[in-house]
Every structure is written in C-alpha cells, then in structure tokens.
Symmetry: C2
Subunit: 238 residues, 2 copies
Amino acid sequence: MSEEFTLVWRRLADQRRRQRPALSIDQIVRTAIQIADAEGVQALTMRRVATDLGSGTTSLYRYVTGKDELLELMVDAVHGELEVPEQPSEDWRVDLALIAHRQRAMALRHPWFATEVGSRPPIGPQALRWIEFALTAAGGVSRDITVASALLGAVNNYVLGAAVNELSEQEAQRRTGLTEDQWRAVVAPYIREVVIESGDFPEATRRIIDAVDLNHDEQFEIGLQCLLDGIAARVTGA
Amino acid sequence: MSEEFTLVWRRLADQRRRQRPALSIDQIVRTAIQIADAEGVQALTMRRVATDLGSGTTSLYRYVTGKDELLELMVDAVHGELEVPEQPSEDWRVDLALIAHRQRAMALRHPWFATEVGSRPPIGPQALRWIEFALTAAGGVSRDITVASALLGAVNNYVLGAAVNELSEQEAQRRTGLTEDQWRAVVAPYIREVVIESGDFPEATRRIIDAVDLNHDEQFEIGLQCLLDGIAARVTGA
DNA sequence: TACCTAGTGGGTACATTGTTCCCATCAAGG
DNA sequence: CCTTGATGGGAACAATGTACCCACTAGGTA
C-alpha cells in the first residue's frame, strides 16, 4: 500500500467515464451513510451496502478500493451538507457561531463522523469548500491569518469535542444494544451506590444532586459563548 | 445482552477470589494498552493480547467478557495516569489549565483514547477519581455547581476535540501504513494543485502560504487561554 | 458483419477476527 | 481418596474484508 498509494481525491478527478456503470460512487457513499446513521458504523459492512443497493458485494470494489476509502468518502460527503452563505456577515462573532452550530448539527446527524474524522484529516473537496468559508469568516476576527486560523481551530476543537462527549452515551447504548431506559436503569443505581452513597466523591455527588441538568444545547452554548468572549477579548485587546 | 447486562465496574467489585489465577485483569488491560499505543487499535486483537501474555486466546474470556469490555477497562485505566494534586491551588485558572494539560497529554500518549471514549462514557473508578478532582477545581470558578460543571465541561470539550484533531493526521498515516514523509509526499502536491494552483480557495491558500505554522502545543495553548479568558469574564461579570 | 478488447458485475474462496463450546486439569473440601 | 467447581485452552464457527477469477457486454476495428 505504501508504494502505489494515491489519495482518493486524485482518482476521483481522473476518473475515466465508464461504460454503462450500474452504480456510482455517490450512490454507494449515500447508502453507506444511511446505514451508518441509522444503525451505527458497526452495521456498516460491504455486504450490507451491496445488499441495500441490490448489487453483488464485490462489485463495490470497482468503485472504491476498500472500506477504508469508503469511510474517507463518507467523511467528506457529509461536509457537503454544511451550507455555506454567499458571504460572511459583517460580524465575525455571528459567523463563528454559525459555523459552530452548523458543524455541531452535522456531527450530531452523523454520530460516526466525530470518531471517524479522528483518523481522516478532512481534505476532500467538500471539506475544502467549508474550510474556505470558515477561514473567510475567521478573517473578520483578525487580519493576521496566523491568528485567525488558530482561533478558528480553537472553535473547531470545541465543537468536535462537544460532539464526541455528547454522543458518547448514545453510542454506548447502541454498542451494548440497550435502550435509553435500560441504560439508565443500569447506570443510575451504580452511580447512586458508588458515587453518592459511598461518600468518596462529595463534589461529584453535589454535581449530581444539586446541579440543574442543562440539556446539551444549553451546555454547548455556554461553552461556545465563553470561547467567543475569549476570542473577542484577545482580538480587541491586541 | 440486553437482559443480563451488568456494568463491568459492578463485576469488578464482587469479584470472588479465584483459585490460582494465572492472569489478572490488570495485566490484560496493561498489555492491551501497550499494544494499542504502539501499533494502533487495529492491531489490538484478542489473539495478540493472549500471545503477548503467553496464554491461550480464550483464556482471556475468563477475565473479560469480550473485547468491548476490554476497551472499556482500557479507557478507565488510562484515567489512572492522571495525577491528582492533594488539593486545588487557590487560583482556579491554574487548576483548569493543569487539568487541560494533563488530559491532553494523556490523550496524546494513548492515540486510541479520544476516539474510543466517544462510545464509552468514563464512569469507571479511575475516571471518577479524576472527575472528582476536576469538579473540586471547578468549584473555584463558581460556587454554583451548575455553572462550575458547565464550564468544566467546556474545557473538557475543548481538550478532547483538540486531541482528536491533532491526532487525525498521525492516525491517518498509521491506517495507510505510510511514514510521515511518504504521507507528506502524497498530500503536499495534492494540496498545491487543488487548493493553491486551482485558485478556488484563496483564503485557504493564504493560510497555507502566509500563516506562520504554529505547532500543536502553541495552537492548543492559544485556544485554551481564550476559553479561560471567556470563563473568567463570565464569572467576574456575574 | 464478425471479432476483439477492455471494462464491468459478481460468485467463490480465503485470511482474519471475535467468540462459543467443550474437555482436560487442578485446587480444595469432605 | 473422591467430588466439585473453577480454570486454561484447543477446536470450531460465524462474520467480515477482500483477492482472484470468470462470464458478459459495449464499442471500436478489420
């Protein structure tokens, strides 16, 4: 693999037209995304994709070199859902918030995305399209592209981490095959005993008992506003 | 699985003493972590763990219900590396920074952690130990535990996302079996042609050509300080 | 028109994995 | 000494990714 390795995106470009193709890469990627969204990456098998497309399993290998490449294409494809405004507003803060919210929504729509992007740097055409817009928006923060890029990266980090954390419980349920109720019925007593009743974790106990339970949206918004505040301070200050 | 499902942590507790056990859960988990650290999760197979331990493959199932549970134990085990100070300092900002840095260092030491935690909420004993400290430190930010917890969560999001993003390139190399040099030799020309020479992505081009290349540490620090600034503003303001 | 060639679909088969089943072994208690 | 239950681990199976191979077909060529 190390010798003749080429990026998918290269091969997509000089893809000669095929004679009466029965499938298309787009179709395959779309089907794969549907499966992974609905049933988790663990349910994403080549046979399954083929079955859903009504084709033979190994026919897929005419379009995609393997499952790995399929996942790479999926990661880029969902970037295509990120709608890019014609131009950034005049308020960088509004723009960065919009970027954060759209990225988060996308990551939550595709629960496999946040983990899969962890080994697939998004450099496909759709990702580039989005990055270009994000950098344009970040240009409103600072004319210094180094600063702008670093701060955009910070927002990106926050959004991705928030998605990973938010999804972890849901994905744990999927992995174990438990419903949300069953999950709670297993975890709650454990937490009560080990955390609360043991007395070993007073702060965690306080957190569980006294804290208002913010939903994920509120929680996300608080952190995001903090980060944007910090960015604002750094920019106006310098 | 849905009927007789119990958390690992339960079973760890009422683990009856075994007669002349040849292995131990700790030993198995440690070995698994070593393999995953050195060669990636893809190299982590039950047979491999057994081989490294000089035992039969299926003997592992006397200690662990399956690979999934092993990964759960691994995720908790690495939390054990997070050294907890006897008590938080008087400066919450120092404490949160320390938390962020230690968590990041741990995530980078174990490249599989950030993605695996995405489907395994850390509720094991080692994770609880760390969370307790983190909440104590966050108590310095605000007496309101709801606020403190939300802001700590923001830091946590940022750190995790930073790790995922930072590791993505390295993990891509591992997945493709390319060295760092080979990887660059493949990606660089692609970026040059598609991003720079195409003229389609002026901001991205500016980013690549004009921006000073910050290393990951610097990049992390900038975002972290922004976030802490934002937290500080929110707390003193309110 | 007849034929050739390269691209295409897809079945078969194999290696690798997680995991279940089963049996031999062995420590400890009666 | 014998019984019992726990333990190590081999054999075997199901699921999966994928290489290999063959049949078929469209479109150009003689």
